[in-house]
Assembly symmetry: C2
Homo-oligomer: 118 residues x 2
DNA sequence: TCCACGTTTCAACTGCTCATGAATCATTGA
DNA sequence: TCAATGATTCATGAGCAGTTGAAACGTGGA
């Protein structure tokens, strides 16, 4: 993934509503969920939801599929994976401590990175 | 890592200059680089750099250390790792296809995720 | 054909992010 | 003490992101 694309994806993810949206769609796989249903679950107005959905779709993080009157949205696993991969490989250059934090699924509370105590 | 903290980190990363900054600091480890040197390397004005540095520091992605007249900035591996871990675990719930993309270090060009052809 | 429903688009407004240059602060050496 | 250096803060302005409600669009059923 190139930097502009990664930047677009990061910008898209850096929003409360859109992060909730990704978390809602993630376990549903390719089937996804209709826009109206998403709007009901997340409590977003239709125009607001449409705005956020198109932001995520433009960033390559979700896909849409028209079915009768409904539009179903589902996560684009490759887009999301590519974004995380960009952070891990291109940005962090597989920095060992960063990798360790990821594998632990750990939060920011480690002091092992500070051997210099003087 | 909690959602507000992850959102702050994602917002901080969703910027061209700040992404460059992280990539510059990443291989330097705990030693880091002085602000003036960073400004020279990246070609940023001092006030602009200071603005971006404080954004990254507030987001918990870098640390600062005063040394004589200089302020050295270095990556906070735990913060960066926690952010990636949040995306991978909390947001993607370790979605197998997302994980696969990450392990491959692959970009968004995979069609293996689409077995349904009819 | 007409209406209802699901969804998107539009215009207007608010607030935030970012860039710029000047001013300020802290530290060091003369 | 004073000047020079390194870094941050401030005020300003431009532009973008997000919210809202109304209008428009496409589709399917009566």
């Amino acid at each position: 993934m190139e930097k502009p694309q990664a930047l677009a994806a990061l910008s898209a993810l850096a929003n409360d509503a859109r992060l909730d949206l990704m978390r809602l769609l993630m376990p549903l796989g390719d089937q996804g969920l209709a826009a109206g249903e998403i709007s009901r679950v997340l409590g977003l107005s239709s125009s607001r939801l449409s705005f956020h959905l198109s932001a995520l779709e433009q960033a390559g993080l979700i896909r849409s599929r028209k079915l009768a009157r409904n539009v179903f949205y589902s996560v684009d696993a490759a887009g999301m994976g590519g974004t995380i991969s960009f952070l891990l490989n291109d940005c962090c250059m597989e920095h060992p401590e960063v990798l360790a934090c990821c594998r632990r699924g750990d939060s920011a509370k480690s002091t092992v990175t500070e051997p210099q105590g003087s």
